[in-house]
Subunit: 189 residues, 2 copies
């Protein structure tokens, strides 16, 4: 890969996310993104030759960031319960006021296939958690609950108060950590 100015790419990606969040997922036009990023339409098309590539960039950046955050969180927590780490990380993500990934709706509207990388990522994550958690029931409940929390954040549904969210996370951590002794290295698949 050539050494390019990463500045524009990132700015464009951020601008796209902003536009999607503020103007609605259906109003994500190239012109809007370009103007928001402080870049001409030609410049945008220079970085992302097509709208699909823009979306792909959004997805890849999201996945990259997520994976990285998860890795460092796991590293910081030593060999502790990976499910608990995932719960905490996700809860933190959902604590943000702005739905961080509402551009996803734009991507889906553009082409549902943009979801496949995210789907496989989640699948792998779930499989990994299955290998690292000894109680399937707890894992299922926690994983799906986190998925629910993420979805509620994405849809910006304000059903849960802050207290309730905290109580929920505490309960989930309890569920994740309660079965017998938490052992980090159980069976691997």
């Amino acid at each position: 890969m050539r050494a390019q100015r990463p500045n524009s790419r990132e700015k464009i990606l951020a601008a796209a996310a902003d536009v999607a969040r503020e103007s609605g997922p259906g109003s994500l036009s190239l012109e809007a993104v370009a103007s928001r990023a402080g870049v001409s339409k030609g410049g945008l098309l220079y970085n992302f030759p097509t709208k699909a590539k823009l979306m792909q960039g959004l997805v890849e950046g999201y996945l990259r960031d997520f994976e990285q955050a998860l890795e460092t969180a796991n590293g910081n927590d030593g060999g502790a319960n990976p499910l608990a780490v995932y719960i905490k990380l996700s809860a933190n993500d959902c604590e943000e006021k702005q739905p961080s990934a509402s551009w996803i709706f734009s991507a889906i509207a553009e082409d549902p296939d943009f979801m496949t990388p995210i789907k496989t990522f989640k699948q792998q994550l779930f499989e990994r958690l299955k290998g690292e958690t000894n109680d399937l029931k707890s894992l299922l409940v926690c994983y799906v609950a986190i998925e629910g929390l993420r979805s509620m954040n994405l849809f910006d549904s304000g059903v849960l108060s802050k207290d309730e969210r905290e109580l929920l996370v505490a309960s989930l951590l309890e569920i994740a950590g309660s079965p017998d002794a938490e052992q980090a290295s159980g069976m691997q698949s």
Copy 2:
């Protein structure tokens, strides 16, 4: 032949849902819906004067059906645990192969405000469940988990196998069904 006066509306609504599911949420055009419903574009515009009205019809129908299903389910179950009833009902919904409400993405793309009726509905539902459930922790976990299940169904993510789904639902019912057990320790076997 009788003029299928109210019939057309339903047919159009169903066609819209089908088109959204099959052609992708971004390809929900009036022409596609009309042809799918076996109706001309003019006929469609007669029933729904604008695309926004179509979406509104979709939302209202969805909410109406949901409410009705919940009511009858609650009626059939006597005065039993409403949370358990909600869990069962939602699990059944998610058992369907086709994401029943993928038109939601179309609606969001069109205008995010279409979500507000759904949001307030969910809010009311949650408040009602809060009033009818004595253990807030169990309610939180179950409600969010169901939300997660719904979201996974909506995004058509095939992470959970059928067995896992069933195990999950059983676990949730277990959590929901301990009416007097305070301090959510109901997860252990």
